[in-house]
Symmetry: C2
């Protein structure tokens, strides 16, 4: 049965969020009404964060909201799309006004920066679970996809890899860091940066693109499988932050390859083009299927499947 | 962290669902790509069902899926919209292939009937929670809303009221019914009928429309508040199924007014028009604010707020 007091939350969220001009009717009726720009394709994604699975217990509510939106915006970024509208399904154990105000504030912060309107959703009682659905636009036939990498393409990633994994290891006290580095990697874990500007700039340049949520090996493997190609990665070229550089090299490389939650873009660019955005070249697409990892000594790690367990 | 085995589920769902022609890219990339029909407004809704809150523990997986989609389609029906696409966020405690196959089957059944494509979503590990987001179309300025009821409008409802509430009472053994009636009310609880056809036929006829999820009093009250009007309900006219007629009259009326989960449409029609669909007239919109309930003896139940607790 619906819980009457939970209806208050919709009003709470409604008051805070700016409404785009293309939102005809926002929160408050049975459904929202929106006008899509003529001639554009709609791009739609939906991701869920579950407490203790996708974020640690005791994560700040503003960070939970920020991340829940960021991981969805990252999916739009990976398609080269421009965000427009979102719906929010928030399941939480009780009505805690302070918690909700902080959650709402974190959502508002990123929504404002990304110019995306909250147009509706649902609030229910249960274990803390946040699902956000986002809709954006892209010009027809220009969306970046996973399935068009070509042999000879250079493989790039934005930003640095492994920070979120190190952040989680630090929070769980598996690794000890200086406080400045700990703050940095926790921020990377809790507030990933959706690479929206970069995604749009890669349209017409990248052959294939994906966002790194499951880890570089797993997500690059999605490109390889969909494109029916293979690749070699040069591990010495992996972009590592100072925090990653401060820890044991083997652990750092493992985190960069397989920890996931980075929300950087991994994309491939044909040899005759340049990415024109800040990105690091980490390898090459090849005809030979499978994913090969070269270290400094030229040693090859077979990594035919994906993920940490297959790498180590 | 994402759970690798959960990615299998996307492939599982992908294979089953028909793809509409306006779906350019469905499940399998970072986001889906769709083409909206030119000149139409988009109608978007999102609802969550949580185990033990919105459906009893041990509800059949095919019924959980059916209901999760039905309650969302009901929101589109209340706007007079035509459904097109949905995204699914399924959180469940473990990967149970039999359970998933049955869940998928229930979703497929209603999706096929409603001609709606599953275009994406997320599968995560946690307490059983199902969020569905639906997108449909409506012609600009024709969507049915809550805020346009006028004094003198007749108030109608589709179908019968209180069946779902009686179904829950029977499952929880608070009320004993003959098995035929028990089957009927359980079916009404688990597989509500989204009134999509009726909603579309009410465009240009109804001044205001809402679907009954929280109970007639609560949802009619949403119309009254949004439209700044009041109403009188004639309780003897409430449409009750044989199952409701078989129980104590006072309980039946309470269930019909306040139990919720009916997913019938409640709508208002100006005096010079007829609804042209199967529906029962239950009252009249009035200028005087508040909601008044008349029984056979003409006695007035004040019901200024909403819900069962205020009625009794």
């Amino acid at each position: 049965m619906p819980i009457a007091e939970f209806n208050l939350i919709n009003r709470f969220f409604k008051q805070k969020f700016p409404i785009r001009k293309d939102v005809v009717l926002g929160i408050g009726d049975d459904a929202a009404l929106c006008t899509a720009p003529a001639g554009m394709q709609l791009v739609m994604a939906m991701d869920t964060l579950v407490e203790a699975v996708h974020f640690p217990i005791n994560t700040k509510p503003e960070d939970i909201a920020y991340k829940a939106l960021a991981v969805n915006l990252s999916d739009l970024a990976a398609m080269g799309a421009t965000p427009a509208w979102m719906t929010l399904a928030l399941t939480c154990p009780k009505v805690d006004e302070v918690w909700l105000r902080r959650f709402s504030q974190g959502l508002l912060e990123l929504a404002t920066a990304a110019e995306i309107s909250l147009i509706g959703g649902d609030t229910t009682r249960g274990s803390l679970t946040v699902t956000i659905q986002v809709t954006g636009f892209v010009e027809p036939e220009l969306a970046l996809q996973r399935n068009a990498a070509q042999p000879g393409d250079a493989i790039y990633v934005t930003g640095t890899l492994g920070d979120a994994g190190l952040g989680l290891a630090a929070i769980e006290k598996r690794i000890t860091l200086y406080s400045e580095m700990q703050n940095y990697v926790e921020s990377r874990l809790n507030r990933p940066t959706p690479r929206l500007k970069e995604g749009k700039q890669l349209i017409g340049i990248a052959n294939a693109c994906i966002d790194i949520s499951d880890g570089l090996l797993a997500d690059l493997n999605h490109i390889l499988t969909a494109s029916k190609v293979g690749a070699t990665l040069n591990l010495e070229n992996l972009p590592l932050s100072k925090a990653l550089q401060s820890i044991d090299r083997k652990t750092a490389v493992e985190l960069a390859l397989a920890a996931g939650d980075d929300y950087e873009l991994c994309f491939t660019v044909p040899a005759n083009k340049k990415p024109l955005i800040a990105a690091t070249r980490i390898g090459t697409i090849e005809q030979q299927l499978g994913l090969r990892c070269l270290d400094k000594q030229g040693k090859i790690f077979a990594s035919e499947k994906y993920g940490y367990e297959h790498f180590s």
